[in-house]
């Protein structure tokens, strides 16, 4: 049988988002634990001490409802916590308090833009639960390690678990979905969305279907995907591996596999994960969550403008292309930056061009968001105005911006200090042109003999002498004049 490429890929995602509440899900401990010494951000409740009881964090419920509404879910007026029972050293109580039978919200969707147009990815459910602690193994696995250490600082951090329907048809779509989801969670300030640091986590279920026979591969759960890039890589790897099932590869069985970013492959976690019966039952220590319609309406009213709405508004209000708008709204901070600039400088397309090229390049190189840099909208606006005034050329402006990112100085200061002011004085430029022409009689002759390309040489020379500060338009014009003026 030949290797085919027309198998249908079916992907569903299970996402865990750490909520940005002040305190943990069921106790008063802080949620900012990453810089603490191990087991210092803990109390009897999150350590699972005898007799300790959970108290539900109201802010976590608010954040859960907010996320649910942003994902177009139906928020359930009645939901309930259940206990998910299993033993593991990072789980202090021997059970995780989660929502199983009656989740906080259900039946949502998120539209994503795929290369084949827009599509809706359905959200099956969103529920609240508590995070586990962290294990630090003396070697890489708990069963081979001589010892393992338990740190419970993270135990009890509130999580929203978001489960999609298996609606994504390619690894690319899965990545697009994750990026969009992250963006939305950041827009509404409920999660900082950092995959690398684990504040947003993604597990994926993938299987392949033969469209001719309807036969399906076993479903694989892929874990440990800790970057957007890896969402795509891990699932691509897995899709390729799953194709072998149709060739009769007996190794393709239903299992959980972990993505190894060093080896760039998924590795079976079989044996480690026995088929678990979690013995869910209603958490007797916490009364059910009963919400009022007004509460949900109130939170609906708090929702900020979400990326899709913002994109549409940008296109209309600033008359910029869809492509620009979708890039600008891909981060809340960037979108705000754009609008701040436009408020002070009324050429939105020029602002957008600068953001999409120069600003984004700087951000990417530094791996930060715009609000984490030394640049404000004032910097960019001043820069653009100086270009308009002719004080500096666009080229110079790029290096000025670079410098501003570095030091936070205002563009004017930089131009002043480094003497970058553009030379727009015709007499001054003419003198230099004259000099260059006189010093290169051979090239002049070539030009006049019909080799018009030689003009570039002169422009380059003038720029070299002026260290790029000469007004390029004027240089162009004056060089032409000089070369074409009749011989004396």
């Amino acid at each position: 049988m030949k290797m085919r490429n027309d198998y249908k890929i079916v992907i569903g995602l299970e996402i865990h988002a750490q909520l940005l509440t002040k305190t943990k899900m069921f106790c008063g401990c802080s949620t900012e634990y990453s810089f603490d010494d191990p087991n210092t951000n803990v109390c009897p409740v999150c350590m699972g001490m005898p007799g300790a009881l959970p108290i539900t964090n109201e802010q976590a419920i608010r954040f859960g409802v907010k996320a649910a509404l942003a994902l177009n879910c139906r928020v359930n007026l009645y939901s309930r916590f259940d206990r998910k029972n299993y033993f593991y050293p990072d789980l202090p109580k021997g059970y995780q308090i989660s929502q199983y039978k009656y989740p906080l919200a259900e039946h949502g969707y998120l539209p994503i833009e795929t290369p084949n147009g827009e599509k809706k990815v359905r959200i099956r459910r969103l529920h609240l639960e508590e995070d586990a602690g962290k294990l630090i193994h003396q070697s890489d696995k708990i069963d081979t390690a001589e010892y393992s250490l338990v740190d419970l600082n993270r135990a009890g951090i509130p999580l929203a678990e978001i489960v999609t329907e298996p609606d994504m048809a390619s690894p690319r779509e899965a990545r697009i979905f994750m990026e969009k989801l992250r963006n939305i969670l950041r827009y509404i300030d409920v999660c900082n969305g950092n995959l690398e640091e684990g504040s947003l986590r993604c597990d994926a279920n993938i299987s392949l279907v033969d469209p001719e026979t309807g036969r399906s591969t076993p479903r694989i759960e892929v874990k440990n995907i800790n970057s957007f890039k890896f969402v795509e890589h891990a699932l691509e790897y897995e899709a390729n591996r799953l194709r072998r099932f149709f060739e009769g590869d007996k190794d393709v069985v239903r299992e959980t596999r972990g993505w190894d970013s060093k080896l760039q492959m998924t590795i079976s976690q079989r044996g480690k994960e026995e088929e678990n019966d979690y013995r869910y039952f209603p958490e007797p220590d916490i009364p059910p969550i009963v919400l009022r319609e007004e509460f949900i309406e109130e939170i609906k009213g708090e929702l900020p403008e979400l990326p899709d709405a913002k994109k549409k508004r940008f296109m209309q209000m600033y008359n910029i292309p869809e492509y620009d708008a979708s890039i600008l709204v891909s981060s809340k901070e960037l979108a705000n930056f754009f609008e701040e600039c436009c408020a002070k400088y009324d050429k939105p397309k020029i602002v957008s061009n600068w953001i999409m090229t120069e600003v984004l390049r700087e951000l990417k190189e530094r791996g930060v968001e715009i609000n984490e840099t030394k640049i404000t909208s004032k910097h960019l606006v001043e820069l653009l105005k100086e270009i308009d005034k002719g004080t500096i050329s666009a080229n110079t402006a790029k290096s000025v911006l670079e410098r501003a990112f570095e030091t936070g100085e205002m563009p004017n200061e930089i131009v002043e200090k480094q003497g970058l002011k553009q030379i727009s004085n015709a007499d001054e430029i003419r003198k230099i042109v004259q000099k260059v022409v006189e010093e290169n009689p051979k090239v002049v002759a070539q030009y006049r003999g019909g080799k018009t390309k030689a003009m570039a040489f002169f422009i380059g020379q003038v720029m070299k002498v002026t260290r790029g500060k000469a007004n390029p338009k004027m240089v162009n014009q004056l060089v032409k004049e000089a070369l074409e003026s009749p011989e004396e």
Binding site: G48, M49, P50, G51, P92, D143, D285
Partner: protein
């Protein structure tokens, strides 16, 4: 009258007793009788002389007292030092109570005789060859023996009321949610309730005033707190309507106890209360419901004892074996049995047939209570089917032991207040009357209990006397 024979209220109101005399009286009493009774797991060293009269109390060893051992009578917590005070303990301390020690119990409150303590059994002061009941057997025995005037216990299926009946003291389980469970080591979370033991209804009402109240650390703690538990104590009972469930007076009930109950009911009628027999069919299912729900919750609540963070830990290179070794060595047979039952009834494939069905039956039972309470103020009957049995008599037969709680379990399932008051003696041993009331009608329950106490005039010092005269050993002959 000796100081240790006095009730908490008598000591408080008596003007000619010095604070150090109170402390001496109880510490000396403990020294004198503790060898025979074995009510305590820990006895705290006598602190220097108090300025005010100490309010002496003992606390069951499943309630946390900061900096002190809290063992739950289990090897798995044998050396566990509580890192915080239970809410009730905090309230006791704020109100100047003097905790003398922690009392013995069935391991993790699972049992009806205190024989399931991993350390030693406690003896009934009325007859030291007999059990004090359980699981709060240590608390009940300590109060009956005059070692303390007051004690705290916990009641999941009768663990306060049954030992109170066996030891001839008052034991009160308030409405579920009126007293914070924070710091009570969980057994069956939807059933567990802290309550008090005393040698008078008035004392138990006063103690409830101290420990009750809505509290933010327990989400199941309720706002509708009774303003004052003592407020209706002396209200006449004329016209109050009392139901006696036929199911409580059936063949399972010891003849002698039945006679005592009936005698008391006649007296209550004489005072003008209206007593009628009713049928409560769901009562026959209460024990079955309980032995599904309580072990299910327990199997989960006890998962935290894994040897990782505190308590007994048996290390093994394999994580799974570390868990198995630790829990095998740490838990006694009854605890293991209930963990297994609970794990089974929650398992996939059995959940619907057991746990879910039991939950539905529990709802039905609550409805039956509501129906009866729509016509009556109280439901009254025996606390226990028998008087205190011999140590060792039922240990081999867990089902027999489980039947000890047939009359007390329903109140836990329904979350209603219930009290056991001693009403007489059968074969030299005390008999308890159980009074149940509507949710949050705790003061009403104490009202009827107080009235009964006045009618029967029970001698609360009977156990102390038998203990002192060595009469408790008589059935050894």
């Amino acid at each position: 009258m000796k100081i240790y024979e006095m009730t908490y209220s008598e000591i408080e109101t008596s003007k000619d007793i010095r604070p150090d005399e109170v402390l001496d009286a109880f510490y000396n009493r403990i020294t004198d009788v503790e060898d025979k009774v074995k009510a305590f797991i820990s006895i705290y060293e006598r602190r220097e002389n108090p300025k005010t009269k100490p309010k002496i109390i003992a606390v069951k060893d499943n309630i946390l007292v900061e900096g002190k051992k809290t063992t739950c009578a289990s090897k798995i917590l044998e050396s566990f030092i509580a890192p915080y005070d239970a809410t009730v303990v905090g309230k006791l301390k704020e109100n100047g109570f003097y905790i003398v020690g922690k009392t013995n119990m069935d391991e993790f409150a699972m049992g009806s005789s205190t024989e399931n303590s991993a350390f030693f059994p406690t003896h009934n002061p009325w007859s030291i060859s007999r059990v004090p009941g359980g699981s709060s057997g240590g608390s009940a025995a300590a109060v009956a023996a005059g070692e303390v005037p007051l004690a705290l216990g916990s009641d999941t299926g009768g663990s306060i009321r049954q030992p109170a009946a066996f030891c001839g003291v008052v034991g009160f389980k308030p409405t579920y949610g009126l007293i914070s469970r924070y710091g009570l080591v969980a057994f069956g979370s939807s059933l567990d309730q802290i309550g008090g033991f005393a040698r008078s209804v008035e004392d138990v009402a006063k103690l409830s005033n101290i420990i009750a109240g809505k509290e933010d650390l327990d989400s199941t703690s309720l706002n509708n707190s009774v303003e004052d538990f003592t407020r209706l104590l002396k209200r006449p009972i004329k016209g109050l309507k009392i139901a006696i469930p036929r199911e409580f007076m059936s063949n399972a009930l010891d003849k002698g106890i039945k006679d005592q109950i009936e005698k008391t009911i006649y007296k209550v009628e004489d005072e003008g209360a209206v007593v009628e027999e009713v049928s409560m069919k769901m009562m026959d299912y209460a024990t079955a419901i309980y032995y599904i729900i309580a072990p299910a919750e327990a199997s989960s609540n006890l998962s935290r004892y894994d040897g990782v963070r505190y308590g007994l830990s048996k290390s093994d290179p394999s994580l799974k074996h570390q868990y198995m070794k630790t829990r095998d060595a740490g838990f006694g047979p009854e605890v293991k049995r209930r963990i297994m039952i609970g794990t089974f009834t929650l398992s996939a494939g059995y959940y619907e047939a057991y746990f879910e069905k039991a939950q539905r039956a529990r709802t039905k039972l609550i409805k039956e209570f509501n129906d009866v309470f729509s016509k009556y103020d109280y439901i009254v009957g025996p606390t226990t089917p028998t008087v205190a049995f011999k140590i060792g008599e039922k240990v081999e037969n867990p089902l027999q032991m489980y039947l000890q709680d047939i009359y007390t379990i329903p109140a836990n399932l329904a979350g209603i207040p219930a009290i056991s008051v001693p009403i007489g003696i059968v074969d030299g041993l005390p008999v308890g009357l159980q009074i149940m009331g509507k949710r949050f009608k705790d003061a009403e329950v104490l009202n009827l209990a107080y009235a009964v106490e006045q009618m029967v005039n029970f001698d609360y010092t009977g156990g102390m006397k038998k203990l002192d005269e060595g009469l408790g050993d008589e059935d050894e002959k």
